[in-house]
């Protein structure tokens, strides 16, 4: 019951974030949605995810405020042309159709389909020695996933550093533009 109230709060926060005129308040409303997700994780029995979500949420809020503060304060009010709106209508219809099919197939709330993970839960402590089953999965059973994650994070940060660098390593005679 509390989860439903929290989800409604998050939906309201995301609508405010998308429709408000001020960019800074939009970013802060998005941060409220992230904090709501964090509390949901805590209530759903995932404390590890909640800690990670809180740290990531704070960082991305800081980064987004860095992007918006003291920039573009003129309001962009015009919507996109009619083609985009028709496209979003068609997409919403298709999305509702497929999500109806999907909601009929998935197991009901509170009864998960634990096929692979029952093996992990039963043998995780004996095989890996980690009492936290999530760390056992991340760092042992699916270690290659974590390697890929580290690679993606490295590439993203390297790309951001290259983009934000003030001066490129160009020769003096090559003029920009």
């Amino acid at each position: 019951m509390l989860l439903i109230i929290l989800l409604i709060f998050m939906i309201a926060g995301s609508i405010i974030a998308l429709e408000t005129k001020n960019l800074l308040s939009a970013v802060i409303a998005a941060g409220a949605v992230g904090a709501g997700v964090c509390i949901c994780f805590l209530m759903l029995g995932a404390p590890d995810i909640a800690i990670t979500q809180m740290a990531v949420e704070t960082l991305s809020l800081v980064i987004l405020i860095r992007a918006t503060i003291s920039r573009d304060l003129t309001h962009i009010t015009a919507q996109r042309e009619a083609g985009g709106l028709v496209a979003v209508g068609v997409f919403m219809a298709v999305f509702v159709l497929f999500s109806t099919f999907a909601l009929m197939e998935i197991p009901p709330f509170g009864k998960p389909l634990m096929t692979v993970s029952s093996y992990y839960v039963q043998n995780g402590l004996a095989q890996t020695g980690a009492s936290n089953i999530i760390s056992a999965i991340i760092l042992d059973y699916r270690g290659y996933d974590t390697l890929g994650e580290a690679t993606i994070l490295f590439v993203a940060v390297a790309g951001a550093i290259v983009l934000l660098r003030k001066k490129g390593r160009k020769k003096a005679e090559e003029k920009d533009e």
Partner: protein, 117 residues
Amino acid sequence: MMLIYVLCMILFAIGIYGIVVKKNLVKIIISFCILDYAVNLFFILIGYKKDGIAPIMMPGQDKAQFVAQTVDPLPQALVLTSIVIGLGITILMVAIAIRLYDKYGTFDVMKMRKLKG
């Protein structure tokens, strides 16, 4: 209790709407973050067991009871990866948005005409 899945889908749909309709680059980035939250939350909701406990084995706990009560750990492990990757994506998008602002002086995507190929 299908209502909670439906609310999560509504959050996802709001993210899609923002990405397609909004013209401000920062609003598009925020919509992407909301989309990310909705997908992560949906995975955790699927793995939830009623009156479940976190999948961390306490010392002295009965193993059979732990196996019967714990929530699904596999979606949680994957979502942990997904959250960190989402942070990387957000950083890259904000960097590109700051660069575009320096070049064009606006966040309005309709005014960035030179990008048309």
